[in-house]
Amino acid sequence: MKYILLFFTVLFCLPFMSCIKDELPNAEADILSCSVDSMILKKDPIIQNERVQIFVKSFVDLTSQAPVFTLSPGATIYPQSGTPLNFTKPQLYIVTSEDGQSQKTYEVSYISSAVGSKYSFEHVRTENSKYDIFYEIDDDNQNIMDWASGNAGFSLTGIASKPDDYPTARLLNGKEGQGVRLVTRLTGALGATMGKPLAAGNIFMGEFDLGTSITAPLKSLRLGMPVDFVPYAFRGFFKYKAGELFKEGNVEKPDRKDSWDCYAIFFETDSTLKHLDGTNRFTHDNILAIARILPEDRIESGEWSSFHIPFVFKDNAIIDEKKLKDGKYSLTLVFTSSIDGDTFAGAEGSTLLIDEIEIIHE
């Protein structure tokens, strides 16, 4: 019987094997990497799906810069890679795929202004008409930093139909003007099949790497942006309401109550550490100071309540002024509506509202 089956399998498969058609030209139109003189860089460029941000030192002349890009196989870019352009304003590049069927416009910006220390969350755009992205601007109204969140990952669950359905969204009535609303949400059938049944609302200073968010969720949090100040305290306003039923993955834990979390970490970058991630954010040797809300202060509050957290410096922490000027020190702020959201534990509906956050520095 086995041999008969094998015989017919081969017989049946033969015509199909020979039917594999020639490979079509590539349909992708990505900027895969961006290189500029490393002497002028403060941090590695952030390359998102339609945006490249190049963080350079403050002395750099932006009127003539020629970034070099690598693209999807066979794709072309206009203006050409390596063309000197004036980057005092962002430049648009159009990438066309090898098959000519798809095009993508990238906004490429050189950012020499360091990120400020007061965050009011008044600047929001809706990305791909799907979810909200908060950003900071400089004195010229140029975007100098996107706040990162896991929204791009939540988009893949197919649950959300409008920006308000996402774990991280704008809050129209904040403490002053707009604020941020973080809500822990279930990820539905598709999230569950990927082993990620829950998504905590989060917002952080850094980059969310969607590409690796399923394979290595903790590593996909790239924490930190260069700053030109040394922080000593972290303060702001919040409201919090824990969700009803706590779950660890899919397991209900009625005896546990959800809690929010916020922390700020000040650290030094070098050739081996470009950013912190979910695996080393509290433990890495390059960390200089941490400010994290105490467990007893992670309370529920229906009114705007303030928090004030001092940075605790390591005993051996030394600040080098030159490094500070060159953007070698980075800072991250992290807020989440479920403290164990990284491991997919929390209560659906836990809601953290934040606004008027400030880093106090010398």
């Binding site: 008969i4 089956l5 017919f8 399998t9 049946f12 498969c13 199909f16 094997m17 039917c19 594999i20 058609k21 020639d22 490979e23 079509l24 590539n26 349909a27 992708e28 139109a29 990505d30 799906n49 795929s97 069927q101 798809s102 095009q103 993508k104 791909n128 791009a152 990952g153 988009s155 893949l156 669950t157 197919g158 649950i159 539905g188 059938a189 598709l190 099949t193 990927m194 082993g195 969607l210 590409g211 690796t212 968010s213 399923i214 394979t215």
Partner: protein, 267 residues
């Protein structure tokens, strides 16, 4: 397969055998009217059991399919009862055959696709569309009740051929699988990119999107070992997409192509 499905299947087999039993009875009873007898003699009853080997496949293969890494036809059984009315009295050259068949059609494939447009639907109406590049594993386990109708031609004592059509009603359905080791681009080839590696898979189940009725053509041959026993092979080719017409996830039509081989017993 759940218990109810199993019961349904058993019951249908029971009905089929009862039907065949009755045919035997009516034959044994003989007839009183000559004319009736003549017709009766021209009708030949047969049961066949066999296996189905084949697959559900788009033809030709779309260019998005880059490689078939594995194919397992599974062991699919069939049992069929049929009646053939032979035209032309004693000569029995041409005939018309109708039957009823219970059969499984299944397969398991493992393929690699590039830039394959798809849409995944969750149980609660979640909807994610995108282009997948990477591995796709698919399993199909369907069972059908099929009515084949064919013109038969007896070339000589030993060899016979048939050409006909069939229509099938699906009884049990499973069209499911998972994607693995690759990446999804949300919305299209330029959308956000997310990778799946090693243990990360996304499962899918399109069973409920399968069409109830399928039809097609079939061509067959048989070799008579004796007056009662024969071996047969029958190639059936589905003509309509196995999926409902409003199902957009798989962008090309999938059609069942199966070779049915086995033994027949003529009464």
């Amino acid at each position: 397969m759940n218990k109810t499905d199993k019961m349904v299947k058993l019951n249908l087999f029971a009905i089929l055998f009862l039907l065949l039993g009755n045919i035997g009875n009516s034959m044994a009873q003989g007839s009183v009217i000559d004319d009736y007898k003549l017709h009766q003699d021209s009708i030949v009853y047969q049961i066949r059991t066999g296996i189905n080997i084949g697959g559900f496949s788009p033809l030709p293969f779309p260019a998005e399919i880059r490689e078939i890494k594995g194919f397992n036809p599974r062991l699919n059984f069939s049992v069929e009862g049929s009646a053939t009315y032979w035209i032309g009295g004693e000569k029995r050259l041409w005939g018309v055959k109708a039957g009823i068949k219970l059969e499984n059609k299944g397969m398991k494939t493992d393929s690699k696709v590039k830039n394959y447009s798809m849409e995944i639907l969750g149980d609660n109406g979640e909807r994610v569309a995108g282009n997948w590049t990477g591995g796709v594993s698919t399993q199909v386990v369907n069972s059908y009740i099929t009515i084949p109708i064919a013109v038969t031609y007896a070339m000589n004592e030993n060899w016979g051929f048939s050409l006909g059509t069939f229509c099938s009603l699906i009884l049990e359905k499973d069209f499911s699988g998972y994607v693995y080791d690759g990446y999804l681009r949300e919305g299209g080839p330029t959308g956000n990119k997310v990778e799946f590696r090693e243990d990360n898979i996304a499962t899918y189940d399109f069973s409920n999107e399968l069409r109830k009725f399928t039809y097609g053509i079939e061509i067959g041959s048989n070799w008579n070992a004796s007056r009662h026993l024969n071996v047969f092979s029958n190639l059936s080719w589905g003509l309509n997409d196995v999926f409902k017409s409003d199902f957009k996830t798989i962008t090309f039509a999938m059609k069942p192509i199966y070779l049915n081989v086995g033994f027949g017993y003529v009464f």
